[in-house]
Amino acid sequence: MTITSPPAASAGRGSPPRRRSSRGLVGWGFIGPFLAVFALVFLAPIGYSVYLSLFQDRLIGGNTFVGLDHYQQAFQDPEFWSGFGRVALFLAVQVPVMLGIALLAALALDSGRLYGKSFFRITVFLPYAVPAVVATLMWEFLYGSRFGLVGDINRAFGVSLPDPLSPGLVLASIGNIVTWEFVGYNMLIFYSALRVVPRSLYEAAEIDGAGQWRVITAVKLPAIRGALVIATVFSIIGSFQLFNEPAILKVPAPNAITTFYTPNYYTYTLSFSGRQQNYAATVAIVMGVITMVIAYAFQLRGMRKEA
């Protein structure tokens, strides 16, 4: 190595133009491996599902081009829209509740008014490290009237709480599980953003006579708008993708959770139980496009206000 370095150094100084173009190639060299796998597991499946959605595979007649028939079918499919309505409701209620708690917790952390600050920070974050499967199994037991918390409360107080896994309550119960899993993660995102707000802004506000709440609404929240937008966009995407929790709760609550409970669950049922892969690909594309449009629109709106 020591032998080769001096000549290379003089070559580097001697011919800067050649060096520059080769550096562009080096850049591609670094990003190339990522892009190769990305093409295989992102671009190829997207292209393939567009292809699938335009064709129909029949036992008799083979693979035929059907144009936009599947899309038309999806737009008139009551099962798809009922699942969509459910995740939209979930998004409208669960996401604000979860992000609200996360934001309050982050503000409390940032205010410096907490005893045991680092204990608080790490404890609230811990559920993020728990797999959705384990979180759901745990809450399934807690919800249970046999040996769960609900059962304990019923016995201790002689009451009979409604079953959290009944058809009317199961969506709220899923919302609680998802909130539990991600409240700490979102709190950390907000807290990290709050920490880099220049302290001089607070001092200026204090000199102007602003109280705690005024500092929060006028200084802190506008300063972390970017983080708020990002967290909301991720939560929108997550809500529309809802699958694990209902799929696992399907076994203990077979009547409350249908096979088309969420659009993702519907896609899964169509392709693996119903063997309707072409239509499943269509539903997945429709849902993916809706998700991207809403996430993108929200991002544009959120970012424009900032400017």
């Binding site: 850049g27 008014r113 728990v130 037991f141 304990d152």
Partner: protein, 309 residues
């Protein structure tokens, strides 16, 4: 006495025997600690901790005690070690096999994803080349694509390639982390000074050597962050293996635990709730330990990622 304690009291800013300084100290930067805020925050802690505490307590109970004693406190018989032994030996020790599978998926999947994200993020941050903006837009757009929407076509593709029901079907899709790439891109632009790279080039070091000898150590906190998040994503993955793997021998822990849990609901199946609970505890312990031990690294990495938005 007052003269003797004067200096240390001033050093410890919260000491109570210097009331005059205290007013200034408890300003914007160092406000007074508040019991009511702490109590409110305590409710959030309670919410996150109760289910975990329940899991730990329940792991110490036998199947009969689980059904017969209140959930939130210990019962007379401490059966944790017995439960662990049963979990590890039940069904010819299939739990150990699932653990090894999970480790395989995590080491190759998350390790590979981190490696590709570090290389790519560094390339995006430190080299100007044509098509860079397109690459970036494409990858950021991919963050918004629901991964589950990709699962069905990926499954069909992989089944044509004969990859389903093999470890590759889980590992290959785990290799790409758009979020990790983004985080590394942001982190590398801040952490690696361009002048340092220029100096290394002038000294004649090759690009790869510069990367490994100079940039990689500077990127360490970012790498730990990306690694932890990809490890969590792979360790906790459920949907992908659910679709790809049919043979229980290749299950990761998440699928295996769920299969044990469903066993109670199937006709003639034997309920093994104590094993589900103990297995769950064993599944989450390694990740919780990793997060606790590596706090310093991932928290600084996460902070850097949120600077630029």
């Amino acid at each position: 006495m007052p003269t003797a304690t004067d200096a240390p009291a001033r050093a410890r800013k919260h000491s109570t025997d210097v009331p005059r300084i205290r007013r200034r100290v408890h300003s914007v930067d160092r406000p007074r600690r508040s019991v009511s805020v702490t109590l409110l925050a305590g409710l959030v802690v309670l919410y996150t901790v109760v289910p975990l505490a329940w899991l730990v307590i329940s792991a110490t109970k036998t199947q009969t005690d689980l059904l017969g004693s209140p959930g939130i406190w210990f019962s007379g018989h401490f059966a944790l070690w017995d439960n662990i032994r049963q979990t590890l030996t039940y069904d010819d020790g299939i739990f150990g096999r699932w653990l090894l599978n999970t480790l395989l998926y995590v080491v190759l999947g998350a390790g590979g994803a981190t490696f590709l994200a570090v290389l790519g993020g560094y390339g995006l941050a430190k080299f100007g080349f044509r098509g860079k903006r397109t690459v970036f837009a494409l990858v950021i757009g991919a963050v918004a694509v629901p991964t589950t929407a990709l699962a069905v076509p990926t499954f069909l593709m992989f089944s044509k390639m004969g990859l389903t029901n093999t470890p590759w079907a889980v590992i290959i899709p785990s290799l790409v982390s758009p979020f990790g790439l983004y985080l590394m891109w942001v982190f590398a632009s801040e952490a690696v000074p361009t002048e340092l790279l220029e100096a290394a080039r002038v000294d004649g070091a090759g690009e790869l050597r510069t990367f490994f000898r100079i940039s990689l150590p500077l990127l360490a906190p970012g790498i730990v962050t990306v690694l932890l998040f990809t490890v969590v994503a792979t360790w906790n993955n459920y949907f992908l293996p659910l679709i790809m793997i049919k043979d229980p021998k290749w299950y990761p822990l998440t699928l295996g635990l769920n299969a044990w849990n469903d066993q109670a609901a199937t006709a003639g199946g034997q309920p093994v709730f104590n094993l589900v609970i103990t297995g769950s505890l064993l599944t989450i312990l390694p990740l919780i330990m990793a997060f606790l031990l590596l706090q310093r690294y991932w928290q600084s990495g996460l902070a850097a990622g949120s600077v630029k938005e």
